[in-house]
Amino acid sequence: MKQQIRNFIFSEIIFVAEPTSFSDDDNLIESGLDSMGIMRLIVFLEEQFNVTLPDSEIDPDNIKSINTLEKWILLHKA
């Protein structure tokens, strides 16, 4: 799951010179994930993992890193 999230973020939303050195805990918002990027990422996650991510839960705690994104998805998959 993390790899799919990484692939989408680095191929579509954020430019990182060396994606392999970007850890799963690194801050995505500080790295350039903006409001449009967040919405596009959520649409991708919902389609890819067949979940509904409520608008009320779109906050930095859930979005700040690849690890927190995975946790957020798993919470709704369960």
């Binding site: 579509e12 939303i13 954020i14 430019f15 990182v16 790295s31 350039g32 994930l33 903006d34 409001s35 449009m36 990027g37 967040i38 919405m39 596009r40 649409v43 608008d55 779109i58 906050d59 930095p60 979005i63």
Partner: protein, 438 residues
């Protein structure tokens, strides 16, 4: 051999706007970023860096020419200068000199084929220095312009070489290539339905459209740190982390409504662009890599603050969920084969009525991302954001953030709007931005 660089479908969108503005006997779609500096930068190094930029990116020295039915940035035989100095000779005029100089440069009328796509201007008086970058909108979009400034502000030559001069396929074309022909048709129909729905409501326009456009003017206001923090906090409270730009749009619609509640029309509508570049990417620099979306709110919602924000948020979320952000790409491509006037009428104006769809133009470039916020050792103290506008709407609200402080540039066409009207509008906008009532 003469190099010819073709325009991409999104460039044609801005070229159609350029044509529309020129048809109004105005200078075309000129844009500018002006940086106010705390001291004079090293002019010799600045000249060298601009020269280096022109050598690495020869497209800078081209002119826009039409060949058969298409437009190309075309090499010229002689490189004309792109850097100019403007020095205030009269000490009593220092206060007005800088703004006057910027206005003159943004209001110069030139044939499109004779115009440099981009020029740089150092405006100096005893107490103040301003660096202006002026460009033709088909040449690059605001993000590309920010990348050019970033190049000029980067002192380390190795880091400057990270800006890649190699030609890459325009992002509009790259995105389009991901879709099969029937998916493109589906997107085209989706875009048509989207604008048809928007066009059911007639846009409210405050400009005095009986007047003939004469010149662009602008007023820029920088909020204090405290005001800026309040605005950001309220934006998050009302619209969440994805809605800062929508907060500005909603507040601006309410401020306009407060200026004249009886203005004719059914709804406020503004275009905003979705940038196709990856954030923090250093390329592509040139060309426009955007797709338009619209924020629209019916008059009945304008008076209900919370409901208005919720409406704008839901509209934006729905647009992205339905992939309307990509829907315009095939339409922009198809329209780029039309004449510029037809392109403008088909895509920019309300379908059927040919009236103006936009109540105002809007752009939020967010945090200005320049190394240490310095230009060759001079600290950037303020950013002014400028653009020519079609009349109507004759009004643009452009926002950015520097050193955590928000800055709003109101661009307007005189005499369709007056400076007094705009000053009053800003007062109302500020009340809207920092108020917390529902």
């Amino acid at each position: 051999m003469t190099n010819m660089y073709p325009l991409n479908p999104a460039d044609y969108f801005t070229l159609a706007m350029d044509e529309e503005i020129r048809n109004e006997e105005m200078p075309g779609s000129l844009c500018g970023f002006a940086l106010e500096l705390d001291q004079l930068p090293n002019i010799i190094i600045l000249k060298q860096r601009i020269t280096e930029f022109g050598e690495r990116f020869p497209i800078v020295h081209t002119r826009l020419k039409k060949h058969t039915k298409r437009f190309y940035w075309t090499d010229t035989l002689l490189k004309s200068p792109i850097f100019f100095e403007h020095i205030c000779q009269n000490p009593t005029e220092q206060n007005t000199f800088h703004n006057q100089c910027i206005l003159e440069l943004l209001n110069i009328k030139q044939n499109r084929e004779d115009q440099s796509p981009i020029t740089f201007h150092l405006i100096q008086s005893v107490s103040k220095t301003t660096f202006l970058m002026r460009w033709m909108h088909p040449f690059c979009d605001a993000r590309g312009a920010e990348l050019i400034l970033k190049y000029l502000c980067t002192d380390d030559i190795n880091l400057r070489f990270n800006f890649n001069p190699l030609e890459i396929q325009p992002l509009v074309d790259q995105q389009m290539a991901k879709y099969s022909w029937w998916q493109k048709i589906d997107l085209f129909i989706k875009a048509k339905r989207y604008v048809s729905q928007i066009d059911q409501l007639r846009s409210i326009i405050h400009a005095d459209i009986t007047a003939k456009p004469q010149q662009l003017n602008f007023q820029t206001y920088t909020l204090t740190l405290e005001q800026s923090q309040t605005v950001k906090s309220l934006a998050r409270q009302h619209l969440g982390i994805t809605g800062t730009s929508l907060y500005y749009i909603g507040c601006f619609m309410r401020a306009l409504h407060a200026m004249d509640k009886t203005q004719i029309g059914d709804a406020y509508c503004t275009p905003y662009v979705f940038n196709l570049r990856k954030n923090k990417a250093l390329s592509p620099i040139f060309g426009n890599h955007v797709a338009p979306l619209f924020a629209q709110a019916p008059k009945s919602l304008i008076t209900q603050r919370s409901a208005l924000f919720q409406h704008l948020k839901q509209q934006n979320n729905r647009a992205i969920r339905e992939k309307l952000d990509y829907a315009f790409l095939p339409a922009m491509w198809a329209a780029s084969w039309l004449s510029l006037n037809r392109y403008g009428n088909e895509l920019r104006k309300s379908m059927g009525s040919s009236s103006e769809r936009s109540s105002f133009w809007f752009s939020d470039i967010g945090s200005v991302d320049l190394p240490n916020n310095q230009l060759l050792g001079s600290t950037i103290t303020k950013v002014l954001h400028l653009c020519q506008i079609t009349s109507p709407p004759a009004l643009a609200f452009l926002s950015c953030q520097l050193n955590q402080q928000l800055s709003f540039s109101y661009n307007f066409i005189e005499p369709l709007f007056t400076p007094e009207w705009i000053a009053d509008l800003h007062k109302k906008m500020l009340e809207e931005l920092i108020t917390n009532t529902n």
